[in-house]
Symmetry: D2
Subunit: 311 residues, 4 copies
Amino acid sequence: MPDALASLSMQALLNEILDEVRPLIGQGKVADYIPALASVVPDQLGIAVYGNDGQVHVAGDARTPFSIQSISKVFSLVQAIGHSGESIWQRLGHEPSGQPFNSLVQLEFERGKPRNPFINAGALVICDINQSRYAAPALSMRDFVRRLSGNPEVTVDNHVAESEYQHRARNAAAAYLMQSFGNFHNEVEAVLRSYFSCCALRMSCVDLARAFGFLANEGFCQHSGEQVLSPRQTKQINAIMATSGLYDEAGNFAYRVGLPGKSGVGGGIVAVVPGQFSVCVWSPELNAAGNSLAGIKALELLSERIGWSVF
Amino acid sequence: MPDALASLSMQALLNEILDEVRPLIGQGKVADYIPALASVVPDQLGIAVYGNDGQVHVAGDARTPFSIQSISKVFSLVQAIGHSGESIWQRLGHEPSGQPFNSLVQLEFERGKPRNPFINAGALVICDINQSRYAAPALSMRDFVRRLSGNPEVTVDNHVAESEYQHRARNAAAAYLMQSFGNFHNEVEAVLRSYFSCCALRMSCVDLARAFGFLANEGFCQHSGEQVLSPRQTKQINAIMATSGLYDEAGNFAYRVGLPGKSGVGGGIVAVVPGQFSVCVWSPELNAAGNSLAGIKALELLSERIGWSVF
Amino acid sequence: MPDALASLSMQALLNEILDEVRPLIGQGKVADYIPALASVVPDQLGIAVYGNDGQVHVAGDARTPFSIQSISKVFSLVQAIGHSGESIWQRLGHEPSGQPFNSLVQLEFERGKPRNPFINAGALVICDINQSRYAAPALSMRDFVRRLSGNPEVTVDNHVAESEYQHRARNAAAAYLMQSFGNFHNEVEAVLRSYFSCCALRMSCVDLARAFGFLANEGFCQHSGEQVLSPRQTKQINAIMATSGLYDEAGNFAYRVGLPGKSGVGGGIVAVVPGQFSVCVWSPELNAAGNSLAGIKALELLSERIGWSVF
Amino acid sequence: MPDALASLSMQALLNEILDEVRPLIGQGKVADYIPALASVVPDQLGIAVYGNDGQVHVAGDARTPFSIQSISKVFSLVQAIGHSGESIWQRLGHEPSGQPFNSLVQLEFERGKPRNPFINAGALVICDINQSRYAAPALSMRDFVRRLSGNPEVTVDNHVAESEYQHRARNAAAAYLMQSFGNFHNEVEAVLRSYFSCCALRMSCVDLARAFGFLANEGFCQHSGEQVLSPRQTKQINAIMATSGLYDEAGNFAYRVGLPGKSGVGGGIVAVVPGQFSVCVWSPELNAAGNSLAGIKALELLSERIGWSVF
């Protein structure tokens, strides 16, 4: 269809979908394990779609920054693959876990080797790898994300990072458990600091949709002109998101939405339509699995109506 | 590209790929948990590609029947969804398991509700559902598969079925454990008999590629003219295969091949390229995860060279 | 103290203790997993103490037969050690389990070798060993128990045995799981039948106190004149009861009572005071761990007031 | 028998037993998880028996100090019960664990409440309780142990404590995991320091036999004249040692030796004969369960020959 019409339709569709999912607000629960997240205004809702043609379509609170939390795990992984390639798979797997994101049971049975980079233990190993590489890992990440999103004002919310650190017990347990198996090389406390800084990045739906654009575009970030990953590596990242990107609900997300995606407890979800679009939806209230309740529904409607599922 | 040329290329490509993977033969291990499977000639290798245009391309031992084993779990699931729809998800999930295919640990912790229909426990629940529906479930399945494959001579290898039954201990344990949680409604022994009959179907690569054709074609089986599933249900089946179709190696298969697929310990693997092709590769020797060693490599090469990954 | 006085005191003490624990009746819950057990009159309470001098002291409903259930596991174990000696420990352990009595998790991790003979899986292995030895294991057991108790009218309640068999799912799962690891040698169904027959023996407190007398008397059953076990084997049985005899409450029983003991979901508990007494208390209502609520309290008071703890 | 003769016999018996078990040296393995322990001379062997009459009998290297390691868990527990009584059981249990001493699996399933005070997690909770009570917990412990043993020269080996701290990963993981469930109240690092200091106490067999004397003597330490615990509390400590004192070999120790006991990876084992003796044996080489190989055998022989088993 003609581009202008397509743009019009997309805009109308996004508005329509937000209207449809808005009634879900009030049925979920904002993340409250740290005070800094618990205080977010719950009835916010936004969406942004970024096409490989460079166009952005938005609806709702698409330009309001929020805490990206676990969505940062994708950026950390991309950094690690960028400088260390396939060698990282000696330290962790790329299999779905079938366990809550912060469980230590599987980690102990599998002798300190996390199942994938999107459970906390796996993300900590990735941060440990990046810690060995960068003098200031959190700054490197921030600058990387600024380039990917084209927004030089992306910043870390230090208040959130500090609050996460104060509540670090479960992540510290995972890190020390891996250290006890020889799968952690830097000081646990230092890596935790870096990890929480990455999680505490504040970005909007527009920022995130743009920053994930290269994953829909064979690894090429068109606004920065950077070939971030090879086409093959890009497919691999998408594959890992498809099997492990939504905590213990990855299967359900594949079943309902059919797209590679990654969620965070801040209420953001990013999804990739390979060869076409990246999309970010945000609404702070979560379902029982820790994913944005309205966000998943919005992506499901979007996938159904445009036929976006990869399957 | 012109169809004739495409056919030519596909044929050449399949030959080329089999030549490349053939050296892997000798490095895997034929399934030997029952004598009837252990006696298969190990150095067989075949592939068949079935297009939505009805064309079949084959190479190697593509017309030799083999024991489909767990590939039958897809047919059982399709039957169950066909007659019972979404209601089946009250009895099992569609999340990856993160555990070996026959582990009872997760099943006990999750109170008898299997993670997905492609681990043994989940397939047994599906068979239990079908047992409640059909007077002769194994015959219904055989006839269903004959229609899907267009081959009226597909049969159950009763010798294999009986041998599986004699070695039913682990599956019986899973069934009784589910029964103890109220999630098994028929006689365990009867369901096990049906289950093993379905696993013991003998089909060739060509049979299986044709039988899976509807999953690449929005649920429509063109040689039988049957709308087997709705387009939406079709995507859902593909999604479950993508996250859970290769035992505890589903993540790796997504990473390397990027297609929905289902494997069996007979050495067959079927994959789906939505909107285009279904493909079946067969080689009896398995890797440590129980998947055909040469088969996975062949699909990886195919995916790379044609750019088939959905990601 | 003089024997007559001692007898008098013991009698008074038993009456006193039953009066003290009677108010607990109504606070527990009768076993209801099978109808045949659920229908027991809940407010029954009895105790019998059998001395190495042959004297029996009783109070309350001490002569009312009840379903001995897991107390039978001691008799099965004694039979197995009697004919097979130390060799049985190749098939199971004698370590506490730290798991509910019917969990399969540990059994799978430890590859089908149960932790001890008093969890269900371990008792099933013992029954499997006895099945290989006796033509009619349930009859052999019944006759053995008749001799030990000196009561030729001890019988199996076939109604209970049949009801248990109808609800065999969890035990069947355990047996088949062990079979899958090669640790089960007879037909699962036949062993389950024997197992449930042993559990369904009906005995009174007096019967059980007398039947356990040899464990307080260096293996010698004085009323039958039989040396049932060697003194060393007797200590070993008592040791296993002390660490594993009360389901997942063995540690608490040692802490509060300090005696080797074995409980059943029929509400009976037998304890051994090495060198002096065997005692059986019965009250059908159970605590959360599946042990007689009033029974544990009665033994605790008895242990405190006579200083019976082995510790 | 007359005391003089008894003394003579005991002395002869100890010598005889050490001679019998000495050939086991070379078949075990010295703890090597920290360099400071790995360097111990492996062929040392000593035993000391301390009677309630105040007499000490020794053989072999009974006066050589060694690292008491987990034996210190008994002292910590006694301190905690001393000042906090039964209230400590809100924070941990007294059930055997059925898991390796440092497993986190059970700890996660049971939501951060350790099974008993003799697995590492439980001992850490006890140290956390003591940390809340004492300004300088490690010094309080050292002084307590000096009083109990009557040896004012008992000291902490700071080299060992520091080395343990450097290898704290697994214990740190357990502590943080408990903190994540709200069951850890002080700074993890500070408690770990105290914990390792207690483990690093150096004591001889004579020191330990004397220090455990009160557990054989209804809570009364006769050389210090201190009533350390009530008689009832004393039985309770002995009960916990009997069900959980030897890592994942408590059941086997009860089966073979039949005494409450506690072992350490330094190769020491202390056992209690209630009402009569306390005994400590030491030999640095361990079996697969982490207990002194020669030590267990020596206690087994001693128990058999004197009939010391409580069962």
